[in-house]
Amino acid sequence: MSTATITQPPVPEPEASDLVGGTSDRRGSWLPNGAMIATRFMELRKRRGLMIALILVNIGIPVVFLTIRLLAHAIAPHSYGPAGGYTVFSTLVAGVLFIFGFIVAATLGCTAGSVDLTEGMFRHLVVTGRSRLALYLARIPAGLAIIVPMVAAGFTVVCLVCSFAAPTHLDYDGVTVPPGLSHAAFDSWASDHAEEVVCNFNINFGPNDPNAPAIMNVLNNVPCGNNPGGPVKVGPGAPTQPQPTQAQIEHVARLMASQNYADYSGRFLSPSVSLMIRTGLWIELYAAIGFLVGLGLSSLMGQRTVPVILLIVLEIVLTPVLSHPDIPHVLNLQRGLIGVATSHLEPAGLPSVFGGMHRVGSSQVPESLTVAICVIVGWALVWTALGAWRMVTRDA
């Protein structure tokens, strides 16, 4: 290499105290500052198309569903029940908000984790000298500041409608039952409404049950009038019996009430405040995990589309399929799924999100609460660590 002489320009004297952007702004710190979080929040919030899509999915679906129910009930109240109530609440929460909240959050996470790369801002940010880890971590509070209120808004709409448009009476197996009775009061009420209970409530008994003959006698001889459906009756058939006495009918009604009390006690006219709070926190937890997973996965892959598709497939295909407890050899894989683990934190009083009922005849994958919590924390930490690692090591 040939080198010509370079004329030296005058060089100012070094100043040891010069701190322009050096140490005064903690640029090397892995902690993001408030301005970074605020501007990252702004960047995500200004994505109008994405925000509209997320709001439509997370808030629009329950709003449309509940609006239709409100209108239908207002137009034909005898044909269509009230729009809200406990049943609608539990169905919407487990069937819509929980799953779509995760998808919405994951989509936002995937966007937050990839747009700097795909839109060319990553280089600008790296050249500022700011810690790449801080650049990554700034996205977490910014994204959560969007997703948490968004999920809360959808949930609040559901809570309001389900509380204020709840039915005025509790319909249990086709019988109007006073809500909130104690076990003894429920038995007593059943005794007072013995024929309704006998004709509509379910009862299970076996051939060796000492009450079996009396039950069969009552079930076969009490006229159920216009209730052709009747109860499910299991046991030996013995059609020729003497007419049961009123005392026998009331006794069987009490037996049926006692057997149905566990199910009855989980039904309310409207969701309780406690249930709504616990449910809201549970949905927010799952959405937050969805955001972190999306953020980490998209940062790892350097793009948005494929991670979004993968997480949607995970949520609405893989998790429901792998939630059945009778799949051999993959129990630990099932336990490791974030959806399965989070369903173990589901508040009592809601139907299980992934198949079966939560309490009666549970079909959940067996998993202790400790393991479930470890899986949830693991998903959050591992994906965050992977995303941050890729952010730090990636060529810009």
Binding site: M1, I6, P9, V11, P12, P14, G22, M36, K46, E119
Partner: protein
């Protein structure tokens, strides 16, 4: 009160007279050596051009310097700070555009700068307006970047560089996408930045612009710096032509045939042309004049015609291509 970019005195970082200093810097992509044992010295307070054909490794060197990708070998320092050891301190005083400047299209120019300023020191947020004014896009600052032309994005990129009130600016092809008026403004802005004591390194393939803007250049080819120095020194060290406006050019040529410069003497439409080798002493010009006058030739004008940076660049890179 907001401190403007020009108001602040530019202070130096400790340790080095060079804004950029690399020793044996190497970057490989598999078998391809994109940056090959580069020894680059960029003096402080000047406009420095980094020239090379396409694929020569200009952008890769810039990326290595800025820590956008790691070096495989060698050492480097920016503003006296060894990097990557003191990368954060060095980059705090550096503004850079690498490749085509791209931003979030759904945000305005101002909002994009807010994002970048947030990652810098708190004072950077006060410089957003000043920077936009300086690059001449303040009137479009609140339009979405997706509606910007390429030239406006280029200006926005420079504004982003200015947020940190940098001592060193590294601009990769800053003239791209600019119309002639925009190029003139960019050139004037670069010169004004240099006048403030800042150092501007610009890589460009627009040799004419570099010649007009820069004080010094480095020529890179196939990842290796093959020449560097002040432009005036580099050009004066190259071959040049002596153009002689005289009476009877044919007779003048005959007079010079027997001299060491006779082989390079030609008669043109505008007079006599004498090709002189690089490093030729200026006394030769006087000698030519003396020979002609003593031979009865009237000499009206003698002018040294030096090569332009462009022709010199082509000469240097062509020679390298032939030797390989």
């Amino acid at each position: 009160m907001t401190t403007t970019l020009a108001d602040r005195p530019v202070s130096a970082s400790p340790g080095s007279d060079w804004a950029v200093e690399t020793r044996g810097l190497t970057k490989r992509f598999g078998a391809n050596i994109a940056v090959n044992d580069v020894e680059l010295l960029v003096p402080r307070g000047c406009a420095f051009g980094y020239l090379g054909p396409n694929g020569a490794g200009k952008t890769t060197l810039i990326r290595v310097l800025l820590g956008l990708t790691h070096a495989d070998a060698g050492t480097m320092s920016l503003l006296g700070y060894p990097v990557p050891q003191h990368r954060a301190q060095a980059l705090a005083r550096i503004g850079a555009i690498v490749d085509e400047p791209r931003f979030h299209g759904h945000l305005t120019g101002r909002q994009n700068l807010q994002i970048l300023a947030a990652a810098r020191e708190p004072a950077a947020r006060d410089r957003i307006g000043v920077s936009l004014e300086r690059v001449g896009i303040a009137h479009r600052a609140d339009d979405k970047v997706s509606k910007y032309s390429m030239g406006m994005r280029q200006r926005l990129g420079v504004a982003a560089c200015l947020l940190g009130d940098p001592q060193l600016l590294i601009l990769d092809e800053p003239m791209n996408g600019l119309d002639p008026a925009g190029m003139l403004e960019m050139r004037e802005m670069i010169l004004s930045l240099v006048a403030e004591g800042r150092t501007v390194v610009l890589s460009s393939h627009l040799l004419d612009e570099v010649e007009r803007t820069c004080d010094a250049v480095a020529i890179v080819d196939r990842g290796k710096v093959i020449r560097q120095g002040a432009i005036s020194d580099l050009l004066s060290a190259s071959a040049f032509t002596l153009e002689v406006d005289c009476s009877r050019p044919d007779r003048a040529k005959e007079l010079l045939v027997g001299t060491p410069w006779g082989n390079g003497t030609q008669v043109g439409t505008d007079g006599l042309h004498v090709d002189l080798a690089a490093g030729t002493d200026r006394e030769v010009v006087a000698e030519v004049n003396r020979l002609l006058v003593e031979g009865g030739i009237s000499v009206y004008r003698l002018e040294e015609i030096h090569a332009s940076l462009e022709s010199w660049f082509l000469e240097v890179t062509t020679r390298l291509g032939e030797s390989s």
